[in-house]
Symmetry: C2
Subunit: 341 residues, 2 copies
């Protein structure tokens, strides 16, 4: 690989001049610029980012930290990633997906390595040790999700509270009085639990109580087989329930399949709505599920914008954004049966 020095030699200029013309960091005469550019082309020169990073302290690489070895990627997580990567590219950065457990030590190792300019966290726990670690460091970061205490922490997140409340009120309008929330489990209790689940359970409990409804909670694994398991359990344990809030994206289609295998008709016997899921997943089931769609594209983009604004010193405000899910109707929502089955 040709180095900048090689280019300088060939063009008969100094190393510094090559740097100035590449970076447009100082005025360079047209004639000199031409010589340098010709030399670069001749040698097929490309700037070594490691050398540059050491001198400048910037690699222009951002890491999206995802505990991929612990949590399987949901389709919605994939959208977060692709949308974030896209936006990063537009703004001149490379965003890469960096698999890493929710572990303060690992984060600090990465951020002190100098290999990345900033990090975006996903799958945030209420007492996430990574956030504490980052708050004490100088490396810019942003969360997609949020911790229990959000003071001073830049984040963007789904507004689970308002979404769940709206979903419950939709069930009420349809005459349902007995609801179940199905989720993917609270995760690591030591870390305060997985944010979306913890918040959703809380508001589900509060709102059902306040509206005088019966509300129970079930959990299963994040897979289609998990959904089928959940359906069996649901049929056995909740014969009176007519409305299900499904907040376990990957289990959704399996759950619907399992209900039907057990002889339930949707929505005549049971109504189901997916929470914070995607059109692609809900249309895998027959009938297609109604869904509150996660604003994944928007949040991915905003999370990256938040981070880059700080890196580029474009903003010193502290963005804390909540975005609601949007409702899309589906054939699994109907009026409550007079008497189930």
């Amino acid at each position: 690989m040709a180095t900048m020095q090689d280019v300088a030699n060939l063009a008969n200029v100094s190393l510094a001049t090559v740097s100035f013309t590449i970076n447009n960091s100082k005025p360079v005469s047209p004639k000199t610029r031409a010589k340098v550019e010709a030399a670069m082309k001749d040698l097929g020169y490309r700037r070594n980012a490691v050398g540059s990073a050491l001198a400048r302290g910037r690699t222009h690489v951002l890491a999206l930290l995802y505990p991929a070895l612990q949590h399987r990627f949901s389709p919605t997580s994939v959208r977060f990633f692709t949308s974030a990567a896209d936006q990063a590219r537009l703004r001149g950065y490379n965003l890469v997906l960096w698999p890493m457990s929710n572990d303060a030590e690992a984060v600090s190792e990465l951020t002190s390595s100098g290999l990345v300019d900033g990090v975006v966290l996903m799958e945030v726990q209420l007492d996430d040790p990574r956030v504490a670690e980052l708050s004490g460091s100088t490396v810019p970061f942003a969360l997609i999700g949020r911790t229990r205490d959000t003071a001073g922490i830049p984040f963007v997140d789904v507004d689970f509270e308002s979404t769940v409340e709206k979903a419950i009120d939709r069930f009420i309008q349809l005459g349902h009085t007995d609801l179940v929330l199905v989720d993917g489990g609270i995760g690591n209790q030591l870390l305060g639990g997985y944010g979306p689940v913890a918040r959703t359970r809380k508001v589900f409990g509060e709102v059902t109580a306040q509206r005088g409804l019966s509300g129970a909670i079930m959990s299963g694994v994040h897979s289609s087989a998990g959904g089928r398991e959940l359906a069996k359990e649901f049929v056995a344990s909740h014969p009176e329930t007519t409305g299900v809030l499904m907040m376990n994206e990957q289990a959704g289609p399996g759950f619907v399949a399992g209900l039907q295998q057990a002889g339930y008709r949707l929505p005549q016997d049971v109504s189901v709505v997916a929470i914070a899921s995607s059109l692609d997943i809900v249309s895998m089931s027959e009938p297609e599920m109604a869904v509150y769609i996660s604003p994944a594209d928007e949040l991915g983009r905003l999370g990256v914008d938040t981070l880059i604004d700080r890196l580029d010193k474009l903003s010193d405000t502290l963005p804390q954004l909540l975005i609601e899910c949007s409702y899309s109707s589906g054939a699994t929502m109907g009026t409550a049966p007079k008497r189930k089955k």
Copy 2:
């Protein structure tokens, strides 16, 4: 951030000695080692990977190149990634997912940046320009997938040829004579087309002809909605067909749903088997699809092993591995109907 020099000062030794103790690159007396380690702890020292990379030419980061902005991640692709990342970690490397189009220029920019030690390619096209670029460079690489001409190229791939042949013979055993292959489209014709689709079409055409069967090909987008579209098209255009090879993972459940919405019973009217898909996807449909499961975990692991063996100079052989899909039965496979519907 404390530097190695800071540690040396505090421990009253030279910079070199600190490096020797950290890297175990030269013998260090126990006493000196203790002093250095104490100083490191005191300062919370962490080695800056950029400085190290510049001196050593190694970052211990590997990039899995995936055109994430062009191709949506399938669940099987996710498995490739997590399995590869896991194996890389076991062997002392960080594997990150680097979104990048099938573009020689972009690859060369990355590999000459010095930020990664090697790359693994996915979504390989028959005439993939990235492979030509990498073959001419000094950066180690491996493919998950393969090009048309594989001479001198290290790769691991699904054995589509033998898998498709077995699937066809299974249909024959069940009495089917009229088959359709559904795929996700050939992709970029300029690049020779997407390897799995090109190879599968070829062998499907050859084997059906050789066995005296009728064989047609349909393509649709990689989504559940795409699957429902395909089902409509199938019902309209292929009234005689009784067997479907579904090689479009994300469209699979939507296709099954769409067939049933059109009044078909599975497998009484039509049999369907998924090719190179996953248990998780096929169990989203009701009934669950039979499937030839992609050996994604194994291939992800082997792809990384291939790359790291070269990086660590453990092997100078050229691995070229093909692995068959394994069959898992499902309720969508049955004997051919006497007369359809």
